[in-house]
């Protein structure tokens, strides 16, 4: 797992990952690249990350992938990322395409739901929490559940 301040250099990460697994005899390589869209007059997005949990979340996917004979990789931005640049790339390597296609889908969806990353729109140079696009992590609400009131 790789974290970078600001936008990702997607081409160099992609090339390096391809080289790293060149001799691993995987048959399918599927990267997912997130690009910051220009919408609602934003200048870009900004991200906070809680590394310890992101690390353990990612490691659990390394294990899931390993059980299927596959490998996952991921890089994400910290801080500001201008529109039309990238904040996120993840990838699956697998001997077989079905495993790769299913795994990249599950991995990216679980990333969206449970990776401890907070997103902000940048408008007029200010960070506005992207509340409408954010989801409570699994286990949310524990601090207010009824048995505790």
């Amino acid at each position: 797992m790789e974290l970078y301040q600001g936008p990702l250099d997607i081409k160099s990460i992609f090339s390096r990952w391809l080289d790293e697994e060149r001799e691993s005899n995987y048959g399918a390589f599927i990267p997912f690249i997130g690009i910051v869209r220009a919408e609602d007059n934003i200048e870009g997005l900004s991200f906070d990350i809680y590394e310890p949990i992101l690390e353990s979340w990612f490691n659990s996917w390394v294990e899931i992938a390993k059980e299927r004979g596959a490998k996952v990789k991921m890089a994400h931005s910290i801080g500001d990322v201008p529109i039309h640049t990238s904040s996120y790339i993840s990838a699956v390597f697998s001997p077989r395409r079905r495993v790769a296609l299913e795994l990249i889908d599950e991995f990216v969806e679980d990333f969206k739901a449970n990776a401890p990353i907070w997103k902000y729109d940048i408008v007029d140079g200010k960070r506005l929490y992207a509340e409408d696009r954010s989801s409570p992590m699994s286990g949310s609400g524990i601090l207010t559940n009824k048995e505790n009131r």
Binding site: I53, V108, K112, W118, P136, G139, L143
Partner: protein, 73 residues
């Protein structure tokens, strides 16, 4: 003393309190007005590991992290 930190967009400085369990932390936080709108939607980590168990024992020096709704990518 247990340290409570608030991640991402929650505008609350870290707190230090006496607490024997995560339930003590929950009881304490529920009394803070400005956190009312957050707690329902927050998950919890203790010392960098997700925790879903209010009876979790806490020890002095433990760090409890409050994690609001996420959106990576």
């Amino acid at each position: 003393m247990v340290k409570i930190e608030f991640l991402g967009p929650i505008e609350q400085k870290p707190l230090e309190i006496e607490a024997d369990s995560l339930r003590d932390v929950a009881n304490f936080l529920q009394k803070i007005e400005s956190l009312n709108s957050w707690l329902d939607r927050c998950a919890v980590a203790v010392n960098g590991e997700m925790c879903n168990d209010l009876s979790k024992r806490l020890y002095s020096g433990d760090i409890v992290s409050i994690l609001p709704p996420v959106c990576g990518g």
